[in-house]
Symmetry: C2
Subunit: 454 residues, 2 copies
């Protein structure tokens, strides 16, 4: 006998949690599709040569390689031919470059699949997790107008997920770099300073100030003050965001370009009718990756800042330089749904879902089986998800089962109801019972289903 | 520069094909949920020790093993710890055994995920493919009534998929084994005879007859005749199925048990209102696996028998004997959707889908951007999937793009329409144009969308 168990670092759910998870996936997909994004799925395995174009990075250390039995037996030396994707960005780059001549640009795609990373096993760290990504890819160029559409999608998605108030925080790499330029901080040092500023929350003002003014950086007290003040800028409401941007004073060409783009994004969000509570500028947002070149996004739950960003991304200049000579700039975001679901559950923010089954059709008497089957099919034809009790069992047990399984309605048709041409229904959520004619039962149930949602 | 390409043996689709594929997945999921099946997803990686309980089979030769960079560097000898699932049945067995005390039995689950097999690379053979499975698992026992629900689900699913008429073919292992018993064919020989009968289509009557009457089997001409006659039995319609079962004459206890169960399944399918054109008995159906112990199912497209079975399964006695002492009998089926999609496409049975985008909101004039954004959001709020043209472009080009992308409607609001308070809409499918007031445009589009489906 072998102990049945999953490998460490994966999330496997019981059905009712899986239903809750699936509803989140569906809501996200719905939001992505509302904004015209098209679905893409890529294979979980990519050729190692294609997947691992950069070598030696931390990412590669986390890659899972795949080998068939045959390849293992050959004891091939060197890197196995296949590897599991570690994100959806590299597969997107490969996909767009491979199908460049078959796609229409700007190409809006969404992709919601699992990715794999050999993370250190740890609570809340996953080796297999869902990413839900959208990106818009341009050919040669991509209008900054797409930068404003992305937060509108994020807002629609998280409104639909209904996990509480959230703020999409915006910053701009050109604004940041322009500001650094203005302070005489150039090139590589910009990244190093950014990295220090990123630690403000953890290390506190004084420690970061000391580092920046210390020998390593050698910045003047005045510059350090300006940096600290800059990274503390965040807005509250639309007008405040514009005012805070104005109040930054004038700067380098790059700085002004970044500020103009941020202003345009704010204008466009307003035109899109996105509630001004949903977005803010936050000039401390940097996003670790060198990859981003324009706007950057982070999204936080207002009541749970400790969860960190639940949806991040930004604008990049060159998606697929390893695969094609075409310049493919893009903008996108990613939701790490497995981690988010885990954290929401820990915070008590996802309740166990009701069953996906709407109605249990009870078996009142074994002689009524054909009747119960026919009733089930009528309800299914009306669009309800129906489980039929197929084996004789005490009614109390059937009700108990429905209750435990999160099935809201139990339809009961015994000899009495059959004689009357009716069906009795128990609404377990409301603790009520009603009866309807055979001809009306499907509509009565659909109507009851619409009311009294938990 | 690295050539962007996928590994051999995977199916990757362009967006419009992906939409068609996604619609099939959604239809299948909808059908599964209609009948009360609950979703399960399992990790793509299982512990090798757990996954590969039987050793040396053909399946194990096709298994993909997974190793992190760290494990590769250690040059571990022996079998890697992780492997990719090769079907959804072993993960189901592991899942049910692992969560036995948290699940309610009979447990109806569906699972739609990709599985991995190191198949020989060949056109139409896939190393990564979707399986869409349903199973009902009982604890200790499972009423044969569940055997009849499965074909009702298959019928609902393939009706929804609308890929042409199909027949769910039923046989029963007890009937088969009972019949063999009656002819004095026992034990292992039953499987060998079955295997020969399975070759009837390929080898023809005479060749199979010669084999069965030859030295290896040594069956009398009379028995061979009976076997051939038996395996030719298939029905046409409900009454004919019952009549054909009656006409088999009397048999052993096992034979009668199988026949009674088949009759009960037929009765129940009738009670469920499944059209009698959708099912038939076919006593030549064996299903290769020793695994099945009761009813077996195969489903074929009437117009494309050469595609073979598109949905198969049956009843088994013991799902998870490797993981638990509990007896877990079950019944289920599997749809190999990747292969099915591939074959339907080859046969010209899946057209490239319309876009998932319902409406392109055109940009008539760059000064109208805010107006176009607001209109887009109104249509989205009404439930439509909308792409906004964000960059200035000639209207003819915008229409051309919508047409090529399979977007049916283009909403146009230039200065004239804005002055009139209307929106003009081109219906590219019908080649018509209409105009509606701002207040009515969303409803007008929803109504137009309902009509004239291709």
């Amino acid at each position: 006998m072998i102990k049945p168990r999953t490998p460490p670092g994966v999330m496997e759910l019981l059905p009712r949690d899986q239903i809750a998870f699936q509803r989140m996936l569906d809501a996200i997909r719905g939001g992505f599709e509302r904004f015209g994004f098209l679905p893409v799925e890529t294979p979980v395995m990519e050729l190692s040569e294609v997947l691992l174009t950069k070598t030696g990075g931390e990412t590669e250390r986390q890659v899972y390689f795949v080998q068939s039995t045959g390849a293992l037996e050959k004891q091939d030396e060197g890197r196995p031919e296949l590897a599991l994707r570690f994100d959806l960005t590299v597969p997107l780059a490969r996909y767009v470059a491979e199908h460049e001549h078959e796609l229409a640009f700007p190409f809006r795609r969404y992709q919601m699949q699992r990715v794999y990373r050999g993370e250190r096993a740890q609570r809340g760290r996953f080796r297999e997790f869902y990413q839900c990504d959208i990106d818009v890819i341009g050919k040669d160029a991509l209008s900054p107008r797409f930068d404003a559409e992305i937060p509108a999608v994020i807002a629609a998605v998280f409104d639909a997920l209904a996990i509480g108030d959230f703020t999409i925080q915006l910053n701009h790499r050109k604004l940041l770099r322009g500001f650094f330029e203005g302070q005489g901080i150039e090139g590589e040092r910009q990244m190093l300073v950014l990295r220090e500023l990123d630690k403000l929350d953890k290390r506190g003002q004084d420690a970061v100030r000391a580092t920046l003014a210390g020998d390593g950086f050698g910045l003047s007290a005045e510059v350090v003050d300006k940096l600290m003040a800059f990274s503390r800028v965040h807005s509250n409401g639309h007008a405040d965001a514009l005012a805070k941007l104005d109040a930054l004073g004038s700067g380098t060409l790059l700085f002004e370009e970044g500020r103009d783009e941020l202003r345009a994004i704010l204008d466009q969000l307003k035109a899109l009718g996105v509630s001004e509570n949903r977005y803010a500028i936050n000039l401390s947002i940097a996003r670790g990756l060198d990859y981003y070149t324009g706007v950057v996004y982070e999204t936080t739950l207002n009541a749970y800042p400790q969860i960190g960003s639940i949806c991040s991304g930004g604008r990049y200049d060159d998606l697929a330089g390893h695969y094609t000579k075409s310049k493919l700039p893009g903008v996108g975001i990613s939701i790490g749904l497995t981690r988010l679901f885990y954290q929401l559950r820990e915070a008590g923010l996802v309740a166990t879902a009701d069953s996906s089954v709407d109605v249990l059709v009870a078996l009142m008497d074994d002689a009524m089986l054909a009747d119960a089957l026919a009733l089930s099919q009528r309800l299914r034809a009306a669009g309800m998800n129906v489980e039929t009790q197929l084996e004789p069992r005490k009614l109390a047990k059937q009700l108990q089962y429905a209750n435990k399984a999160g099935i809201r309605f139990v339809a009961m048709r015994g000899e009495d109801e059959a004689a009357r041409g009716t069906v009795a229904v128990k609404d377990l959520r409301r603790g009520e019972q009603f009866e309807a004619n055979d001809a009306e039962i499907a509509n009565a149930l659909l109507k009851a289903k619409e009311t009294g949602h938990a």
